[in-house]
Assembly symmetry: C2
Amino acid sequence: MARPRSFDPDHVLHAAERQFRTSGYNGTSVDDISAATGLGRGSLYAAFDGKHGVLLQAMAGYFARLGQGPRNMLAGPDEGALERLHAYLLRAVHGVPLAADVPPAPDRAAAACFAAKMALEIGASDPEVQRLANDCFSVVRTAVAECVRAAQRNGDIDPDADPDDLAYLLLTVIRGCDVVGAYGHSPDRLTSIAESAFALLPRPRHH
Amino acid sequence: MARPRSFDPDHVLHAAERQFRTSGYNGTSVDDISAATGLGRGSLYAAFDGKHGVLLQAMAGYFARLGQGPRNMLAGPDEGALERLHAYLLRAVHGVPLAADVPPAPDRAAAACFAAKMALEIGASDPEVQRLANDCFSVVRTAVAECVRAAQRNGDIDPDADPDDLAYLLLTVIRGCDVVGAYGHSPDRLTSIAESAFALLPRPRHH
DNA sequence: ACCCTTCTTGACAACTCAGTACAGAACCAT
DNA sequence: ATGGTTCTGTACTGAGTTGTCAAGAAGGGT
């Protein structure tokens, strides 16, 4: 028996995420968020507890989205696991889109993983942001490791290789592409890096 | 026939770099730079043209330092090139120190490549910073590619591999470690990533 | 010893920012 | 319809920001 909120929190957090990804945390003012979301300052503070609260909730939403995008792309039967890994790599080096089935972003720097950008910018002085960012990393890394195990079971990757180590390495390459992309390199270059990484995956010995 | 400046510009830019690496560009105020360097605002504006000028000149100094650190570590005769590459990888994943022969930094996030941090934070809206950052990347990448060629000449790396592609990939891993380090992972984990990447380098076929 | 040039310092004005408070609007239940 | 509760928008405050300016200090050449 009260007035319902007239906005969709997910939509607001989405717009805020876009703003943070474009301008960084310290480069975004509350007025910027207000303009990007259409909400007034009062509503922002009441619903999300200000700028920092918006960031935390936007990152939580980002984390949740990772379970639907990358994880679903990697999960599946053992046969085809290597191909799924390949397809994922080729897509991931071009950035993390704001929504599924949307081209990542106009410029590559804004397409960089939201969690990675925030961790690098303010993670050192904001443990909560650092932890949230690492959660985002872990959930994808775990999915990659599981996909590697599936490929191993299918005989496509050397069974002696440590799947967790490989997953760390592949994810490090993907995050590194966020940086290389921020340098202004072309998408083709990032594709080439992804292909190089994939080509070096340890194949089982022929006998 | 005039008063000489009482500070060492290199020392000032060094202190400013430390501040930028710790707090980011937008997270650093002119007062912060003033406190970190000991210079008053007036001197900062007269000598470096304000905050943005300090950044550009600090990045130029950083670029110059890359020619003395990583490049010298990688250059040398063909025999031992692979070992140099190995040693460089193991060191590079732990960050770029402020000065040669100094432990990279107390916390890993502040040890991340200065150019990479700035490119990710403001490179998209600041072409000059993006270009400078990419120059830093290119000089190291070129040195790595040359070292790969030396290792190929020495028969330690598959001669069919494209040394430039390998250099891109290795540098991407190193930059990716800046991100993984910002997530809070231990130095041991970064070492492990470096070793995994090194182990996957294509060796020449035994015959 | 003097003077001129440059550096240095601190203060200043204009502006932006984060966060708060208050008044008005909207909605649901009765 | 009406009332009570919550949401919405805006104005406000105090702190922090940038860039500039002028007055004083310091050194080198004559």
